[in-house]
């Protein structure tokens, strides 16, 4: 914000300085010439102008006029320009009478003269407002644009990493190898496994493209995934679900829970000789959805470079979609790694990446 302030003051001073220069030049060519009294008067104009427009700017910021709908903003600007123009003229007139009596600028209550001066000031304030507002609109527009692009990039990245992890060769070939062994041992189970594998792949291909999906759909994907890993890890992988019914239709960003569960398998279960448990829990906490994934093992932020990417990306997605309203917490508790997602009901930034 510091740089924004600097830009503001530079613009404020150079704008008024430019105006002052024009006034002086006008007087030199068309008026009485360069006289000390003219310079004093112009200096007073600049001082009064800066003081009152700065006040005006503080009002704009305090009342958040920049984020009003455009028509409302225009209305407010017109109104305040009229007020401010009058105030400027009045204060200028009074001050110049007091400070520069030799100018003899006080034309009493000559209506035509006063009106002309007020209109001059109003035009000046309007001009000031147009500059101020357009600069801000432009900056905001750019900020918004950047946010959109970030969102899009993050979405693409998720889609890509997810496709990669679904097609994760390590997972894929291990799964196929287990299924091949299963064909001799339990043909029925083998058939089931193939169905689950294809349903998982289809799910991953489809859900990655959408911005939000119902929790139920995500869970279906997670369940297919875990049932395949279960074939591989057998009794070394225990899974439990505690899903509140009222969360099933809750809209969530796709593949988020899936990412967490994959991490739980990859860094938790598969590194434990005796295996462990993965528990998935969802509940509504007021208006927010709370998703809890816990797995046996230990989370070491220093060590997990690979899971770090997945977690960071999840965090970034949440922030981009929901702002500060969403959160992700990861912690160690009783030899378990617990990851908690808090997802609000409404998106903060809608229609992004569509």
């Amino acid at each position: 914000m510091g740089s924004n302030r600097t830009v503001y003051w530079v613009a404020q001073f150079s704008g008024w300085l430019l105006y002052a220069t024009l006034l002086v030049l006008y007087n030199v060519f068309f008026g009485p010439g360069l006289q000390p009294v003219i310079l004093k008067s112009v200096g007073l104009i600049v001082l009064v102008g800066i003081a009152l427009t700065h006040l005006y700017r503080n009002i704009i910021v305090a009342l958040n006029w920049l984020n009003q709908p455009i028509l409302r903003a225009v209305g407010l600007v017109l109104m305040s320009s009229a007020l401010l123009g009058t105030a400027l003229h009045a204060s200028h007139a009074v001050l110049s009478n007091l400070l520069i009596p030799e100018l003899d600028a006080f034309n009493g209550f000559d209506l035509a003269y006063n009106l002309q001066m007020v209109i001059n000031w109003i035009i000046l304030v309007l001009f000031w407002s147009v500059l101020y507002f357009t600069t801000h609109y432009f900056a905001n527009y750019k900020k918004e644009e950047i946010k959109n692009l970030q969102m899009l990039a993050s979405q693409n990245e998720i889609e890509l990493t997810n496709l990669k992890s679904q097609l994760n060769p390590h997972f894929m070939f291990n799964a196929l190898n287990s299924i091949r062994a299963l064909v001799d041992e339990d043909p029925k189970q083998a058939k089931k496994a193939i169905t689950q594998l294809s349903s998982m792949l289809r799910g991953a291909l489809q859900t990655g493209r959408r911005q939000l999906i119902p929790l139920e759909e995500e869970l279906h994907l997670v369940k297919s995934y875990l049932s395949i890993e279960k074939i591989r890890f057998e009794e070394r992988l225990q899974v439990s679900y505690r899903i509140a019914d009222d969360t099933l239709s809750y809209q969530i960003p796709p593949l988020m829970i899936q990412t967490l569960v994959e991490n739980a398998v990859k860094h938790g279960i598969s590194s434990l000789t005796l295996g462990g448990e993965i528990a998935i829990e969802t509940l509504l906490d007021g208006e927010k959805l709370c998703v809890k994934v816990s797995n046996s093992g230990l989370y070491d932020p220093q060590k997990s470079s690979n899971s770090g990417i997945g977690l960071k990306n999840t965090e970034r997605r949440l922030r981009l979609l929901y702002g500060e309203e969403a959160s992700m917490i990861i912690k160690n508790e009783n030899q378990q790694v617990i990851t908690v997602l808090n997802i609000p009901k409404n998106l903060m930034y809608e229609n992004l990446a569509s």
Partner: protein, 246 residues
Amino acid sequence: MKTLLVDDERLARKELTTLLREYPQIEIIGECSNADEARDEIEKHKPDLVFLDIQMPGKNGFDLLEELHYLPQIVFVTAYDEYALKAFEVNALDYLLKPVENKRLDETIKKMEHRISELKSQVPVGEELVGNQSKLTENDQIFLKDGEKCWFVTLKDVRMFESEGNYVRVYFGSSKPLILKSLNNLEERLDNKVFFRTNRKFIVNLRWVEHIENWFNGGLQVTLRDQTKVEVSRRQAAKFRDLMSL
């Protein structure tokens, strides 16, 4: 061929067993699901051949190899581990990808059979009975790991070992990895007819010695075929002369 299977997944071991049933020359003497179990089995039963999964919980396949005193022929079996396989730079490494193709398995087993029978024919008759089992001969392979890189090296290709603090640098081909071992420990395990301790810092492969000359204080200096010069301390020089029948 006495064969051991090491994989943390039961179904993966089962699948491999089924595949290996087609080969009567393979005798599966056991299955292990983790590195510690496998280490004990290998030291105890000294299999000729081990099918080894790289990624296992706890210690992985490489950790296991580093701990072994007796190194059988190893065939890595992995689902997909470009990274791990890349660790092996130059060596003819044998690995199978899961699910295993019959044709690849065929080739691997033929190669292993050939290698193992060759190794057995090289062991001089009676040597095995002398009880020299724990000594490594020049035909034995060792497994080396330095950081991310791994090597299988036949000892006769090693020119020398150099002590560096708690580590030992192993010179072979164009590589010289550093391994966490003491030179004393190595000296005990190496065949001292071939690997000679020239001084506190070096063990030299005598087959690589090209040139010997007298040196200060009654010591010697040997020049290896790669032109490395190593000093033989006075204390060791007498022994050295004996060995080289000077």
